[in-house]
């Protein structure tokens, strides 16, 4: 025979629903939420929190994404239904029509600087690792830039695929290897074959005779120059010797 007070005591022993703490921590921004999105790049797992998008990966499964996130980013992660406008925002961002907010907490100031600079590279253009290093005021840290980009927690969104080797080779890619890098750049309108031919013949810059400006070959300011006015330049010194100055938009060399 149970008594009322022992029953009441048992009522006090009920457990909170499974996952309650995780959902709560995600709600106050202490854990990240994630979902799978079908994008132009195929299925991409994206994590977000109140600060913005915090990670992305074309992981093979949710479990793989969770394991990678916990190890790499080091926060808790909760599967969630995406806010209803997030899928559209992601698609717009990947198509270059929007600037999303990103959460880069947990990265070193150097890594943050590298990723922020990389975001400035326009769609359809590429820059060498050395450019990123020079632009953030660490011209000797080219390899460190490569490492920072390889560890980019938000590939595709922060376009580390637009950073290539100084000799014009495509370089490696943390977001799925060189092949993935090629296909994303091609999708963005970069003419890789042409760039590789230029690199093989030792050409680094495109100069325009009429303006006396030299650019990276993908820079949008040089795109409308007439073929007869274009000269191909091998390095900064010979460009300057021929009377060219570096473009102020793509900044292929420090402006003296």
């Amino acid at each position: 025979m149970t008594t009322l007070t022992t029953d009441l005591k048992r009522l006090g022993e009920v457990k909170a629903p499974a996952g309650f703490a995780d959902r709560l921590l995600a709600h106050v921004g202490m854990a990240d939420s994630y979902a799978r999105f079908d994008t132009v790049l195929g299925a991409v797992y994206v994590a977000w929190n109140r600060q913005g998008v915090s990670a992305a990966s074309r992981a093979a499964s949710a479990a793989e994404f969770e394991a990678w996130f916990r190890k790499d980013v080091g926060r808790q992660l909760v599967a969630a239904d995406a806010p209803k406008d997030l899928a559209t925002k992601i698609e717009d961002e990947l198509q270059g029509r929007r600037r999303m907010r990103f959460d880069l907490r947990g990265l070193t100031p150097f890594e943050q600087a590298v990723l922020r600079k990389t975001r400035e590279i326009p769609r359809g253009e590429i820059r060498p690792y050395g450019w990123v290093a020079r632009e953030i005021g660490r011209p000797a840290a080219v390899r460190a830039v490569g490492t920072a980009l390889a560890n980019n927690p938000i590939p595709y969104f922060i376009p580390c695929h637009r950073v290539v080797r100084t000799d014009g080779q495509i370089g490696n890619y943390g977001g799925g290897g060189p092949e993935a890098k090629r296909s994303i750049l091609t999708m963005e309108g970069v003419r890789l074959k042409r760039l590789e031919e230029l690199a093989r013949s030792g050409v680094r810059y495109q100069g325009v005779k009429t303006t006396k400006v030299f650019c990276y070959p993908t820079c949008h300011t040089g795109r409308h120059a007439l073929e007869k006015n274009i000269v191909w330049l091998r390095d900064e010194a010979s460009a300057r010797a021929a009377g060219f100055r570096p473009c102020k938009v793509c900044r292929p060399a420090a402006v003296a």
């Binding site: 008594t3 005591k9 629903p17 499974a18 309650f20 709560l24 909760v78």
Partner: protein
């Protein structure tokens, strides 16, 4: 993650069952109980980030969370309830697999409904004293009432709850 967040995370893990149980006994159903528990911790979080370190250190977490939860329940207005964030959907309690377990859960939920049906002042007193098992002094602190008032309310509440199902042996 800073110190306050770590403290909050520990607080959630340590007290989530207790606060959910309080919500269940006060509202009479599990959906509302989860809302109450969620609101309670959200209010706690918003308060914690504004508190000075000294104040956080001296905080009596259990009593503090009980006070917040009581206010959350009191302030709930029928019809305009805050939306429950179901990020993942509430999963069914997997712990209760057996028929005995299911029966137990139904019985408990039925009891919760009866408790939630008590007039507020008896309900709060009974729940704090007998569901949450606070001492009379702790319950009095949480309610901001004299101990004698709490004792009287607990007694009347139990009397109202006690039906033919129960023998009269306990007080």
């Amino acid at each position: 993650m800073d110190g306050t967040e770590r403290l909050f995370e520990r607080m959630v893990h340590e007290h989530q069952d207790r606060v959910f149980a309080l919500g269940l006994a006060l509202t009479g159903n599990r959906h509302d109980a989860e809302e109450v528990a969620q609101d309670t911790f959200l209010k706690a979080y918003r308060a914690l980030v504004t508190y000075a370190p000294d104040r956080i250190r001296e905080l009596k977490q259990k009593a503090w969370l009980h006070r917040i939860a009581l206010n959350v329940v009191r302030n709930r207005v029928r019809g305009v309830r805050p939306h429950l964030v179901e990020l993942n959907g509430s999963e069914p309690d997997h712990a209760l697999g057996t028929e005995d377990g299911a029966l137990l859960k139904l019985e408990l939920d039925a009891l919760a409904v009866r408790v939630a049906g008590l007039p507020p002042r008896y309900r709060e007193a009974v729940v704090l004293r007998h569901v949450q098992e606070l001492s009379y002094q702790e319950a009095a602190d949480a309610l901001g009432q004299p101990v004698g008032t709490v004792k009287a309310n607990v007694h009347r509440g139990l009397k109202l709850l006690r039906g033919d199902d129960y023998d009269d042996s306990d007080n």
